[in-house]
Symmetry: C2
Subunit: 289 residues, 2 copies
């Protein structure tokens, strides 16, 4: 762990400005790097994906003429990063806050290319479970669904068609570290269906309406079918406002809806994904016991 | 539907100031009234609880010398309110925005006392399902869990001990109307356990840790026990940061945890409540078929 002895304390420095630019997509595209904010995300990144983390920026105070990391939580994260070639930079609080108001004393800069996963890189087992999201646009939702897929033990997440950038800092924050726990792929619609077919994965649509020809099956009925639950599959969720287009629904093997028992009209995307993916995971667990 | 012909167009008027004060707890306590913001919440309030709505404030423009409601969505909400004694007030956009930036053209003022539910007011069936939350403090979480309980068809929600005010506008917005779909009670801890006992409801704790003496049971194992699932029960969730205290866990009949299959460390309170309550509802539905 090379530590830069000099403390970054000028919020107006060129280096600081360049890191702050990573909060915007233009800055990320130009530099091929991305920003990880806050203790939880940075800890998970250095623990699970030290290969993608290049630099760590941590807040220090000057005590007895030597710099001291502001909390033991942050000290432990820096310790974990020692095993990898991650450059640690001590910073003043002003510098950290200038880069991001959501840093809580610690930031990391990652290599976007190292983070990028190709479909061929993913090893899928005999009972693969993939969570796929078509045109998810809201960063908070995108993060929440990645976290739900992680909790449900999915093998991968696929962002299909025109989705929010998974390396958007708001997405990363909302995953609470899950972005570094499982591969997140981005694919076009046709490429997604081809990939599923090549891996013998059925595609199930999570949708409340279905098509004129095909009403959705209710999730509890689907859960009662143990064999279907434990077979290889990708569950595809639609856009937060518009759901899934008919053309997409027609390409899916099953259409499954979450029943609503009270008077609520809907569940939001994040909650729907958690209920659907966790139900399938729990049922698969019981079925395999 | 009495309509006040005069348009409220002075954002500095005393009446406007008093309504805006309902966004704060002091304003609500002083007046015994509360604020409902935005088309979705207002529509659900006038549809399901017209008895609690006193006044409707809707944005109009002046067209050909007579006021015109700014959208057909809002017009339909005003029509629904016609069946009840709700006073409709036409307002300028400035007045609506002065009261709340989250109004999207429509606001309602409700009677807090009429909204208040007493435990004895609630009729519980033979298979009662109640969702209870101990010391939930974040308004967004509180709203999300009320929405989840509604979707799962719970008979009531109970906020136990020191929780956020369910009539806080942020809570109401986050329920997306569910606050008006099912009773939301507030009780002290002892009163809650007494009430459950009086109604022969088991209390289950939703908790990942359990106590030193008692490890939690995993939700999928509990779901496999059809009889337990369909029995009368209240599921108690803990505070978003601290969970449930040992003393509370010891008073609960079962302790149930949601398994995590991937590397995610936790689910947030809203997601946990949705997964637990929806799983029980879906399993109960299959068990009763």
């Amino acid at each position: 762990m090379p530590i830069n002895a000099q403390i970054l304390d000028n919020p107006k420095a060129e280096r600081v400005r360049r890191i702050a630019e990573l909060t915007r997509s233009k800055g990320r595209e130009r530099s091929g790097r991305f920003l990880i904010e806050g203790p939880q995300s940075v800890r998970e990144a250095v623990t699970w994906r030290p290969d993608v983390v290049q630099d760590l920026y941590v807040e220090v105070t000057q005590a007895l003429d030597h710099p001291r990391i502001i909390s033991s939580t942050l000290e432990r994260i820096v310790e974990v990063s020692q095993d990898a070639t991650i450059y640690v930079h001590y910073c003043s609080g002003d510098v950290i806050r200038r880069i991001s108001p959501d840093a809580q004393g610690i930031l990391a800069v990652g290599n976007a290319r190292a983070m990028h996963a190709e479909p061929d890189d993913i090893t899928l087992g005999e009972r693969a479970h993939v969570a796929a999201f078509w045109q998810v646009r809201d960063p908070g939702n995108a993060g929440t669904v990645i976290r739900a897929a992680d909790a449900a033990g999915c093998d991968a997440v696929v962002f299909v068609d025109d989705c929010v950038d998974p390396l958007n800092p708001k997405v990363i924050r909302s995953t609470t570290g899950s972005l570094f726990h499982l591969p997140v792929l981005t694919m076009g619609t046709d490429a997604f269906f081809d990939w599923c077919s090549a891996h013998d994965m059925a595609v199930w649509a999570a949708d409340v309406y279905g098509t004129a020809e095909r009403a959705p099956e209710s999730l509890p009925n689907v859960l009662a079918d143990g064999e279907a639950v434990s077979s290889s599959k990708a569950v595809l969720f639609g856009n937060e406002a518009r759901g899934l287009e008919n053309g997409l629904l027609e390409r899916c093997g099953r259409i499954v809806s979450i029943p609503l028992y009270g008077k609520a009209e809907s569940l939001n995307l994040g909650t729907s994904a958690a209920v659907m993916l966790m139900s399938l995971a729990m049922r698969g667990y019981v079925a395999s016991c």
